[in-house]
């Protein structure tokens, strides 16, 4: 098991955001966390990457307990994240943003830079544009590219489809599949359950800070409860999973 989250509890002040979430991610998988607003998806990711402290439970990565390791050290261990709202450095150019991804690394970055440009040709075209002046879709590509520059073993993606046009969403999900095919494990948080379940191998459903369901992604696509709650239910969802 590459990443194992064991019964984590996270509090914002006195309010419990996570009440015992357990998630496992195996090497090479795409795992998705789906759920409504406020279910604790983003908090889970932030806790894994070290932006939030946990009050109970543990996070084991690559066989080591990293619950107490500061966030910036987890990056070197191999946890890369594209944060909620993209978190682009607005004043830095595309290249500078990507190089920030390699900030903590001491080795050669040229090859990885080329690989990111290969995945996102759009970024290569806009190398010298300031991150803040790019469109939402381009910023999302930049956020994912920048996370890849940290050479992650597991890539955490927080709502990559948020605020994007349907065409772009499709493109982003294709790229996520491609990243995974090239050997990076992906933990994906999404509200767009339909898309997420189609690319993922396994999925967890979060509701108000707890995991209410976990299964193969394909099985969840056909699950009547999940369909009713997250896939719009009815005839449309019934036609969906055949693809």
């Amino acid at each position: 098991m590459l990443l194992e989250i064991k019964d984590i509890h996270v509090h914002y002040g006195k309010i419990a955001a996570l009440k015992g979430v357990s998630v496992e991610v195996d090497e090479g998988e795409i795992v998705t966390l789906i759920g409504a607003n406020g279910a604790g998806k983003t908090t889970t990711l932030k806790t894994i990457s070290g932006l939030r402290p946990l009050t109970r439970g543990s996070i084991v990565f690559d066989g080591k307990d990293i619950s107490k390791v500061p966030g910036h050290k987890r990056v070197l261990m191999g946890i890369g994240q594209s944060p909620e709202g993209r978190g682009i450095f607005p004043g830095m150019t595309v290249v500078e943003n990507l190089l920030m991804g390699a900030y903590a690394r001491r080795d050669e970055v040229e090859k990885d830079l080329e690989e990111v440009y290969d995945l996102f040709p759009r970024l290569a075209e806009r190398k010298d544009q300031a991150g803040g002046t790019m469109s939402g879709g381009e910023q999302q590509m930049l956020a994912i590219g920048r996370a890849l520059m940290t050479k992650p073993k597991v890539l955490l993606l927080d709502e990559p489809s948020m605020g994007l046009a349907p065409m772009l969403i499709k493109q982003i999900f294709e790229i996520i599949t491609e990243i995974n095919r090239r050997g990076t494990t992906v933990l994906l948080v999404e509200q767009n359950a339909q898309q997420a379940l189609q690319v993922a191998h396994r999925a967890y459903v979060l509701e108000t800070g707890t995991v209410v369901k976990s299964a193969e992604a394909g099985a969840l696509l056909n699950d009547p409860q999940v369909r009713a709650a997250y896939l719009g239910g009815g005839a449309e969802a019934a036609a969906g999973p055949t693809a």
Partner: protein, 395 residues
């Protein structure tokens, strides 16, 4: 927006200035190395002849010009360079910056009068002491962000002043008198011949620190300012500067890139404090006596205004801002009690005219455009007091 015909003249003036400062910026960015050195050299020569009487009679008809150049002008510029490290580079809003200036000033006063140390020794000790106090202030408070940090630093500035006011060992509200001047380095006198007389510097002893002539102190301040500029500029273009920029633009994202954000924020505080402390030592070495009320909150606010007005994050900008904030109230002293009103009006006008500052950095503009406010914690999402990275709790 593209409709140029019916815009008011003020907008046109503003756009004109904006494109002028942009083209200046581009020219500088692409200028060859030698051209830059020529500009640096010219600026230093201008700075050296600046205290001349001929310039002073226009710049400062009401006050002794060299003394004015030493403080507030020189002092504010040095403090603005220091505060710019904290606010402009790392994006941390510090409202208690005057505390470090006070610590430097009191270091000079205490070590000079009670331990009879020499100015140059105290300069080193004072800078170190200020840096340490920056770390002491930063360590518990830098876990806060934005407004919360601002309030705590404001409190720190007040604590330092009030402690000084209530500590008998350092004179309480009467402060410390009889602070020694720096030792004379050399009696060397600028030759009294035609050229130097013409520019008004003939007969000046630039390295003899007496009670009357303000020029030697100005040159001392100038030296410290130049050192601070070199130091700050080198930091800006280094790995440290990149880390600060990332923290300023998005602190969480910076942590996700493997930047040890807490350490770098602490470093920004310590370095900013060290520069402020240097300013305090130099200031006290001329002032003969200092009292706690030399270090009021309004000084922190004024320096912050200088940084924002000039163009937070851009060194020439913040220096220009500091110069204006220090100079305008003295220049309009003839307006008597109305001068503060006029000064306030000028500040408001300048901010309406140039919200991004007089000489903003290109990067800062992009940050502003993105809506983060371009001031790190000030404009960005404000985390509550519990926003602490996991590892920092464990340590």
């Amino acid at each position: 927006m593209n409709d140029t015909t019916n815009r008011n003249p003020l907008t046109r003036l503003r756009d004109g200035y904006s494109s002028f400062s942009d083209s200046l910026h581009d020219r500088w960015a692409t200028a060859p190395r030698w051209a830059r050195w020529v500009v640096y050299l010219v600026l230093i020569v201008v700075a050296i002849i600046l205290p001349a009487d001929g310039i002073g009679s226009f710049m400062s008809p009401y006050t002794d010009w060299p003394t004015l150049l030493f403080f507030p002008i020189g002092g504010y510029i040095l403090l603005a360079i220091g505060l710019n490290v904290v606010v402009g580079q790392a994006g941390l809003l510090d409202l208690g910056y005057v505390a470090f200036f006070a610590i430097g000033g009191y270091a000079m006063a205490i070590f000079g009068t009670k331990m009879h140390m020499d100015f140059w020794e105290i300069l080193v000790v004072g800078v170190l002491l200020s840096a340490v106090s920056g770390i002491i202030l930063g360590a518990p408070t830098l876990r806060l962000r934005g407004d919360y940090l601002a309030i705590v630093t404001l409190g720190f500035g007040e604590i330092v002043r009030i402690v000084a006011q209530n500590t008998d060992y350092i004179g309480g509200p009467n402060g410390i008198g009889g602070i020694p001047h720096p030792p004379t380095l050399t009696e060397w006198t600028v030759p009294d011949n035609g050229f130097f007389d013409a520019i008004g510097l003939g007969g000046v002893q630039p390295f003899k620190y007496g009670a009357l002539d303000g020029k030697p102190y100005y040159y001392l301040m100038l030296l410290v300012i130049v050192l601070a500029i070199i130091f700050s500029k080198r930091l800006e273009n280094s790995r440290v500067g990149r880390a600060w920029a990332s923290i300023r633009e998005d602190e969480d994202a910076a942590e996700l890139m493997g930047v040890p954000t807490f350490k770098f924020k602490l470093a920004a505080f310590a370095i900013g404090a060290a520069i402020g402390g240097a300013g305090g030592v130099v200031y006290a070495s001329q002032a003969v006596s200092i009292i706690p009320n030399n270090f009021p909150f309004i000084l922190s606010a004024t320096i912050l205004a200088a940084v924002v007005l000039g163009g937070s994050g851009n060194l020439p900008g913040v220096m220009l801002g500091a110069f204006l904030v220090a100079w305008i109230p003295e220049r309009i002293r003839g307006l008597q009690e109305y001068r503060v009103l006029v000064f306030g009006g000028v500040l408001v006008l300048l901010m309406v005219f140039r919200p991004e500052g007089l000489l903003p950095s290109r990067r800062r503009k992009a940050e502003l455009a993105e809506g983060e406010g371009g001031m790190g914690g000030l404009g960005a999402e404000v985390g509550g007091p519990v926003t602490v990275a996991a590892g920092e709790v464990g340590e």
